[in-house]
């Protein structure tokens, strides 16, 4: 999968720069451990997303990459060089903060030029670089303003420009779109994607929004409770979630999870046997997972009561009460209405099975 990622991204010239490796990273705050033995390998030019719910350790990982937090154990390697103890300014990495962290007392131009001025780049050169970068992100007409006079979207671009101007080997982005309104977020997401492709700089992007992760990422690392539970392309993470927790986190709405018993070729849920296209010799407690998009109204399936129909125009999300649980269906054809009683099924190949106790994919 990593080879795949490399071939899809990366410009020549950058191919050798920006390879990142985390090995055995442990981070403790006093008695609590926020990261347990995290390993990651990020390829040059890759757009790599750290995805997970809040408190899962993704932001801590990003801050460790930035050098803003030390590690309790483990090592950080960039382009083959151990940077575990290198201070933030000497790692050749740039970061865009969730709050943007623009310097309020400086003009936009001064903000963007700041990382260059700090290493004594001549003024004329700074001005040239600032102009070029500002043009690239479309704020060249705002250079004389201060951050307080910019809109949210413009501030975000300014923060981006400040990161780009120094041509670092690694971009770190901490939920950079979360402070934008919904429409602007979608636009900016696309621009961000093409900008990264253009520059070819390795990018690590933290978000809790899986839609962002799916659309932007070459690969995703899913964080849960201070551990990486899965690394893969968006398609892999969506199609073959490695744990029940990942399955329940990814997808809008996420995967339906039903408790059942797997024996032979079927899983029995609330007395109803579903063929799952896989065989178990001995009976086994499992969690059966079905994507809402794979749920069908079918004769002879699980009896279900329609609780709510959310019509989104082109698609609809239906909520059923079935086998004592809430089951969601995503469909483009609404054939049922509130209060209907129907039976539900799914194609055998679309079933995901997880061990009931460990949550691991079977």
């Amino acid at each position: 999968m990593s080879a795949d990622a490399t071939t899809r991204t990366g410009r020549p010239g950058n191919a050798s720069r920006g390879s990142i490796r985390l090995e055995g990273i442990v981070k403790r705050h006093g008695a609590t451990t926020v990261l347990h033995d995290v390993d990651l390998a990020i390829e040059p030019g890759e757009f790599f997303v750290l995805l997970g719910p809040s408190g899962s350790g993704k932001t801590t990982t990003l801050r460790i990459l930035a050098g803003l937090e030390s590690v309790s154990a483990g090592s950080v390697t960039m382009d083959g060089e151990d940077v575990t103890t290198t201070p933030p300014g000497e790692r050749d990495v740039a970061m865009v903060f969730q709050s943007y962290a623009l310097y309020p007392h400086m003009s936009v131009a001064a903000n963007i030029g700041f990382p260059l001025r700090m290493v004594k780049v001549p003024a004329a050169e700074v001005a040239r670089a600032v102009e070029a970068v500002a043009t690239k992100v479309g704020i060249q007409h705002l250079l004389a303003r201060t951050p307080g006079q910019l809109s949210g979207g413009q501030q975000q671009r300014c923060a981006l420009a400040r990161a780009i101007v120094r041509e670092p080997r690694l971009f770190l982005l901490d939920e950079p779109l979360s402070n934008l309104d919904a429409k602007l977020r979608l636009e900016t997401r696309l621009e961000l994607h093409s900008l990264q492709r253009n520059l070819g700089v390795t990018t690590v992007y933290v978000t809790h929004d899986q839609e962002e992760a799916m659309t932007l990422a070459d690969r995703i690392a899913v964080f849960m409770d201070g551990r990486i539970v899965q690394v893969g392309t968006p398609r892999e993470v969506f199609a073959t979630p490695q744990t029940r927790a990942v399955a329940g986190f990814i997808g809008t709405p996420p995967m339906n999870l039903l408790e059942g018993v797997w024996q032979g070729d079927t899983v029995t849920v609330a007395g109803h046997a579903f063929p799952v296209g896989a065989h178990a010799a001995a009976p086994r407690d499992v969690t059966l997972g079905v994507r809402p998009g794979d749920v069908r109204v079918a004769d002879g399936g699980l009896p279900a009561h329609v609780e709510r129909v959310e019509d989104l125009g082109d698609t609809a999300v239906l909520s059923y009460r079935a086998a004592g649980a809430l089951v969601k269906q995503k469909t483009d054809r609404t054939v049922v209405r509130d209060g209907d009683d129907v039976t539900l099924g799914f194609a055998p190949g679309s079933a995901h099975l997880f061990d009931r106790t460990t949550g691991a994919r079977l």
Partner: protein, 298 residues
């Protein structure tokens, strides 16, 4: 494996930087406050009378023992209590009252705020002199003008022991009520207006709104004002010194003034030091209690 190295780098660098920044101030405080404090404690254990230098020598706790039978000390202690409590209570009550009043007037808030700044920025010694001459002097002082106009007659405000105590309390209250007023006004301004609208909808009257909304929400600010005003009252010196000098007799001689007069008028620095130590112990004890109180109220 990297644990030690990590500690060496980022955090160690931060630590070094922090100590570089904080050490000069800490050393300076050590030299300018703590070392003198130790010397004060040492002095308080000695007989040190610049009027009678031949008697100087180690006295152990003699100075402290002497206080027990020193009526002037007990007098000053009582006056300190009266002075501190009455000025602090008056400042908070008046300051809160004026702040609530000012919120009711549509215009002129700014003017009152400017007027309130005036007493605060003046030197207490100058305030003491003003009051002693232009405000409180018999016959021509402002207060006497008022009392004579009202038919209450002329009084020797600073000459009579009881009136003098009331006067120095009034001076302190005049100068520092604006502080309570400004801080409480600022705190009142931060109270969310929708709470009041909700209370109004719940049919709470003006007094109920004050009692059940304003006062509880204002409590933290009030506690802080009380703490800070107490500290100022305990170290009040210049205004009283200028207005009465502690007199007549020792009618306005709070502990602070007694320690000063003993040390620098009577030149009995050993005993003065022990009085200062007592004052300091009281100040520290009160601030400790107040901070505990503040924390528990949170």
């Amino acid at each position: 494996m990297a644990t030690g190295a990590a500690a060496r780098s980022f955090e160690a660098q931060e630590r070094r930087f922090a100590l570089t920044l904080v050490a000069p101030a800490l050393v300076l405080l050590l030299v300018t406050t703590t070392a003198p404090l130790v010397y004060l404690l040492w002095t308080s254990l000695h007989r040190l009378d610049l009027g009678m230098p031949w008697l100087s020598g180690f006295a152990g706790l003699g100075n402290y023992a002497k206080m027990g039978s020193d009526p002037r000390f007990w007098n000053s202690l009582g006056l300190t209590a009266i002075y501190t409590i009455s000025t602090v209570v008056a400042q908070v009550v008046l300051g809160l009252g004026v702040a609530l009043l000012v919120l009711q007037i549509p215009k002129g808030q700014g003017l009152l705020r400017v007027a309130a700044i005036l007493p605060i920025v003046l030197a207490p010694v100058v305030v003491g002199l003003f009051w002693r001459t232009l405000v409180l002097s018999p016959d021509v002082g402002l207060v006497d003008l008022v009392t004579r106009t009202l038919g209450l007659g002329s009084h020797n405000w600073l000459g009579d022991p009881q009136l003098a105590l009331i006067s120095v309390i009034a001076i302190h209250t005049w100068q520092w009520t604006p502080f309570a007023f400004l801080v409480l006004l600022a705190s009142l301004a931060t109270l969310p207006p929708d709470i009041y609208e909700a209370a109004r909808l719940d049919r709470a009257g003006a007094w109920q709104r004050f009692r059940h909304i304003t006062l509880p929400l204002l409590r933290p600010a009030i506690v802080v004002v009380v703490i800070l005003r107490m500290m100022t009252a305990l170290s009040a010196f210049a205004a009283i010194f200028a207005a009465t000098g502690g007199g007549p007799g020792s009618a306005t001689e709070i502990l602070n003034l007694y320690a000063y007069r003993t040390s620098f008028s009577e030149l009995n620095l050993g005993y003065g030091a022990s009085l200062a130590v007592v004052l300091m112990a009281i100040t520290l004890a009160i601030s400790y209690v107040m901070f505990r109180l503040r924390r528990s109220r949170r």
